[in-house]
Subunit: 422 residues, 2 copies
């Protein structure tokens, strides 16, 4: 099955809003074996939408649209599809009652224009929207090239995604003759795309599964997708492949799924009842920010200290002025004392520290911009390492340093080796 | 002039990469009075690209494409445009020499396939690429609807943006008969879009300028765009309108242009030689992270303390245990003592502090999720305020609290009143 995608709305065409629905849907469609062949956009004008659908159906059996389902006069997707299908709009009572219930629950008065959201082209099958007022629908359309289908979804990403997963993907799988697809994503840190590709080369035969890659800086993700008939044990087959994959990329793989390193590290700390203190220089608070994005982080995140100046490193973290004088603020020696000082100040199990030169200025021949040191301290031990990340901009250096620190926490807890990268 | 946009590449169609080029170009085109009427995408196949250009030129006089200009076999945009225009590909010597120079400067060997990047359809005008190897080009195309133009740009955003601003926009302005456009963007904080719209209602007559809005959460931007003939003083006219706009939205406007509040606050601190300490609880390091994204922040950012626990608030910031007991950690009283404690610990001119309940749990009837307090301390004075931001998720609460704190710093420095919002 081939599919075209269509994003509807003046704000999309005008560049006011970046359309994230189309790439999300394209990725999701591929995961069930549907091939996205192109994307279109249309302003909020009925004939522009009809034209875009007509083109979309020239290339594909199915066109999936997002947007233009709101209650106001400039939401014209439904009217355009009715025109395209040559069908009148008819009221769908169950959808109307669902919208009424939604307003009643929220204690709001339903206005007359919301009634429009329960009107569909005759012959269309409504798709319920659990998260908002606008149902979507699937509508058959006859074209000069044969029978086609249009799938219409709202533009609000949260609503659209829930509906796509609940109704559209199963519908497409069923149209594919009951063939089912299953996929599993793995998140890695410390490997480039080409290195990951190399390590996984030949892992799966084309008949077994499809292996794809996705750069989600500073992480790298890989995904296994496989298909089977109604009775197949797809999960079991994925388990086997995952086992093989883990043997190849072992400790680089930090999570099954799409989670961030801070979530993995935070979960591991919580599960083991460990607490953490963070002493940041060049990362400026980014590690604390990331860790506190995790709900429940107060269970493990004890303290963060952002010590840009030598005075603060000395006064608040107890870094030895002699260490600063002999080795400089950007050194593994200073980083270790920062980590231990933070740990002690917070009475935490672990202390992690960063110090470096984020740039654009401040580099020297010996310590160019992008030189960073990461350290970890625990009861009875210390670890540190210097990295050369290059002059790739403050944000890059900060981001990569924060990830190296979080990965070190993860590796220490799991007893994994130090990652080999520079 | 109407324009269609076209994004080329398997990674775009497949949803691997989110296409930010198209919305950026659409916004830029509108700023010079060109109307974007739709967007298309195509996989890396010559006929798919030809088809997309054909459709793009049905709706518009100009089609602007990004992507598919690399040296490898799957980069097919130039070949597709040559086919569309019915022209052979010819070598452009100056472009070839520019590519050779680029390789020589980098000390790299130029491979044979880079020669392809100096080939253009006969009759096309190359567009130099100052940032990369792939030049773009403008190519006239005859269609059943008349003479059209195709503008081809590389897909790397940095290269594409520089070329669009240097060559494409001036070319479009010239085609518009020498009509020139000028625009000015203003960034505000503390106003909703509808409130901003209301405050600016009637500010400019349609004949004077166009006023547009853009939500860039948590900021709100507004832009004035006007046009004129060759001799007009567009800057002078913008100055007059800016003056009027400032009278209406006064202290909500924190910057001309697109800068973040941390840049504005950081610049003001640096200009006045003031230093800042940040004591963060619910924002978890986000304020420090933001401020240290600003190059040169070490001049004003003295210290950050992320004190999640009461112990840390007491031990490191000197918050009175009696204050914590009587008013709780989330209170204006605690926030003020945190701000003053941070200021004192760092011997800084200003101390800013946040404390609140980011959620999803931890709320009470009296202090529901989303309750946050922001405080500022300076030599001889203190300020604080409680806000109810609602249970909109950790990220939202952290982001909004950080902005409220940075805006308070900005307002204090400028002697502006407290912003009225809850």
């Amino acid at each position: 099955v081939k599919a075209s995608l269509l994003a509807i709305g003046d704000e999309i065409v005008g560049g006011i809003t970046v359309d994230t629905n189309t790439p999300w849907l394209a990725d999701r469609l591929r995961s069930v074996g549907v091939e996205p062949v192109g994307a279109f956009s249309a302003v909020d004008e009925e004939m522009a939408i009809v034209r875009a659908f007509t083109r979309a159906l020239e290339d594909a059996e199915v066109a999936v649209s997002t947007g233009g389902l709101g209650p106001t006069a400039d939401d014209l997707t439904t009217a355009a599809v009715a025109r395209l299908a040559g069908q009148p709009l008819v009221l769908h009572e169950p959808s109307l009652r669902a919208i009424e219930r939604r307003f009643a629950t929220a204690g709001l008065e339903m206005t007359a224009n919301n009634r429009k959201q329960a009107m569909f082209p005759a012959g269309a099958a409504p798709l319920p929207n659990a998260e908002g007022t606008a149902p979507g629908f699937v509508c058959p359309v006859q074209t000069p090239r044969g029978a086609r289908h249009v799938i219409v979804l709202p533009g609000v990403p949260r609503e659209m995604r829930a509906m796509a997963d609940a109704t559209v993907l199963p519908w497409l799988v069923e149209r594919g003759g009951g063939r089912r697809f299953a996929s599993r994503t793995f998140s890695t840190f410390g490997l480039t795309e080409s290195r990951l590709d190399e390590l996984l080369s030949g892992l799966v035969a084309p008949s077994e599964a499809r292996l794809s890659f996705r750069a989600a800086f500073p992480r790298m993700q890989t995904r296994l997708t496989l298909e089977g008939g109604p009775g197949d044990d797809l999960d079991g087959r994925l388990d086997v492949l995952e086992q093989r994959l883990r043997e190849r990329i072992g400790h680089y793989l930090y999570a099954r799924g799409d989670e961030g390193l801070e979530e993995t590290a935070g979960r591991m700390l919580r599960e083991r009842g460990l607490t953490l203190a963070v002493a940041e220089s060049c990362t400026g608070g980014l590690i604390g920010h990331r860790l506190t994005e995790v709900p429940g982080s107060s269970a493990f995140f004890k303290l963060g200290l952002v010590t840009y100046s030598n005075d603060a490193k000395r006064d608040l973290l107890g870094v030895d002025p002699g260490t600063l004088r002999r080795h400089g603020a950007v050194s593994t020696e200073t980083a270790e004392e920062m980590a231990e000082g933070g740990r002690r100040a917070a009475a935490a199990d672990l202390g992690v520290a960063t110090t470096g030169i984020a740039g654009p200025t401040g580099g020297t021949d010996e310590k160019p911009v992008g030189t960073v040191c990461v350290a970890l301290a625990w009861e009875g031990g210390r670890w540190s390492r210097r990295y050369d990340l290059g002059a790739r901009g403050r944000s890059y250096v900060k981001e990569m340093t924060a990830m190296l620190a979080l990965d070190r926490v993860r590796r220490w807890i799991s007893g994994l080796p130090e990652v080999e990268r520079s």
